[in-house]
Amino acid sequence: MKKDFPILSTVLPNGKKLVYLDNAATTQKPLSVIERISHFYKSENANVSRSAHYLGEQTTVSYNNARKAVAKFINADEDEVIFTSGTTESINMIAYGWGDPNVSEDDEIIVMTSEHHSDFVPWQQLAMRKKCKFKVVPLNIDGTINMVEFKKSITSKTKIVACARMTNSFGIINPVEEISKTVHENGAILVVDGAQSVPSMPTDVKNMDADFLSFSGHKMLGPMGIGVLYAKKDMLESLKPFLTGGGMIDEVKDESTTFACAPDRYEAGTPNVEGAIGLASAIEYLDEIGMENILEHERSLFEYAYSKLKSVDRVTLYGPKEIEKRAGIVTFNIKGIHPHDVAAVLDSNGIAIRSGHHCAQPILRALKVDFMATARASFYIYNDKSDVDALVDAIEDAKRRF
């Protein structure tokens, strides 16, 4: 499979072969996606849904087909799929477009301690704007959500619950189906951050009963700058457009404007067509492998890495041991070496990992993680056991140097 990804044959200036293990930050792109985008600019490019000519039609058909592909991929209807610039924009669209008109001072907003900053800060800021209560659900010692505490914190005043289906820091799969049931029993809405889960496991919005789901194209073989906001049909009535302007209107008069139907009303301005069709091409590639198989592959690499690293002196592994709660993310520290220095030594061995707080400071603070930072190796479809072996060897090199 590595041959489908031109960048994976990179040789670093020091002669080391690239081993790319930073997939939770962004994935590499197969040639089919790169060529699809190139083809768009070579033979289709025009503005979408506006220009009544041959190229305008080509572009519009491709863009609409991309939306259909995304809808099918997550088991949604087409008009429930809104293209955005990424997960961050999607979540802010909900916070401003649904939160501002629907949340008031007496309400409560709940998030998990393990949320990525992009699923934490918009809700905290919304709560501050509305002067309403902002509750952060504590975690168990392994970083999983403390479900007892969650169930205690939710009340009839709770309006919004935000939760990732898979955490980006430790790669923990959260029980969103169970959370969803509790949320809806209490009359609140569930906002799911799917940035990490959608690339790595099957997604069925009807099954998880999410009111909103956000994800990004670049973490699933697609281009940067394209993302998705899924909004359940029932929510579209109460979701106000966040951006206004061209392409999202029905009729504009001097004194007032009526908006177009969903999803157009949420996509003001010329959309990222190249991104949308690139994402559709990525979905085609993923579908050929099968999302179940991807999760299984990630887990087999996680188990292999975990079994090798758990006995390595000075290495601390974070997160639960149970494989059914995990996917392909190994988060660790080496005693006495700051993760940035670990990453630098690994880089000199050709291995690309992430180090730092992973935009998830609350979980690192709650679990009192050394340095308030960790190293993180994350696997994807093109990684294999030899990549894990290289990682383990390089960790030994870091220990020798520090």
Binding site: N14, H340, D341, A344, S348, F371, M372, A373
Partner: protein
């Protein structure tokens, strides 16, 4: 020798293992806390002034080898300097890191950081303590 020695020069590793002026001052005139938000390095710097001079300074903090060694070197270079000299040294150091400009001789041990400009991801680590000092004496 490999390219890592370029980043982690022997002097840097020595300061990382045995940071100078690490700890708290009993009496100080200014205390500055600063973090490098991109990676979480933290520093707290305390300074005692006397007659427009930096009489003493100490730091505590948490971060990578580069950020801690840089703080250690900074305190060694700055101790005893006038505020005016300290400002000048800060500017020289930051210019060396950002532009890769050949450092003036008076930077002493701080010159070992001259390679950092080749590692853009580490610039914030190397400059954190110097920015803290800049803020303390502005």
């Amino acid at each position: 020798m490999d390219e890592l020695s370029d980043l982690y020069a022997e002097v840097i590793m020595d300061h990382q293992r045995h940071p100078r002026n690490f700890g708290k001052l009993e009496n100080f005139d200014r205390e500055i806390q600063m973090t490098n938000s991109s990676c979480g390095d933290q520093i707290s710097l305390q300074i005692k002034f006397e007659n427009e001079k930096i009489k003493d300074l100490k730091f505590t903090g948490m971060g990578c080898a580069i950020s801690m060694a840089s703080a250690s070197v900074m305190t060694e270079v700055m101790k005893g300097l006038s505020v005016k000299e300290a400002k000048h040294f800060c500017d020289e150091f930051l210019e060396m890191i950002r532009e890769g400009k050949v450092p003036a001789d008076d930077l002493k041990d701080a010159k070992v950081f001259s390679n950092i400009h080749k590692y853009p991801m580490r610039i914030k680590c190397a400059t954190l303590a110097w920015h803290a000092l800049q803020k303390a004496i502005e």
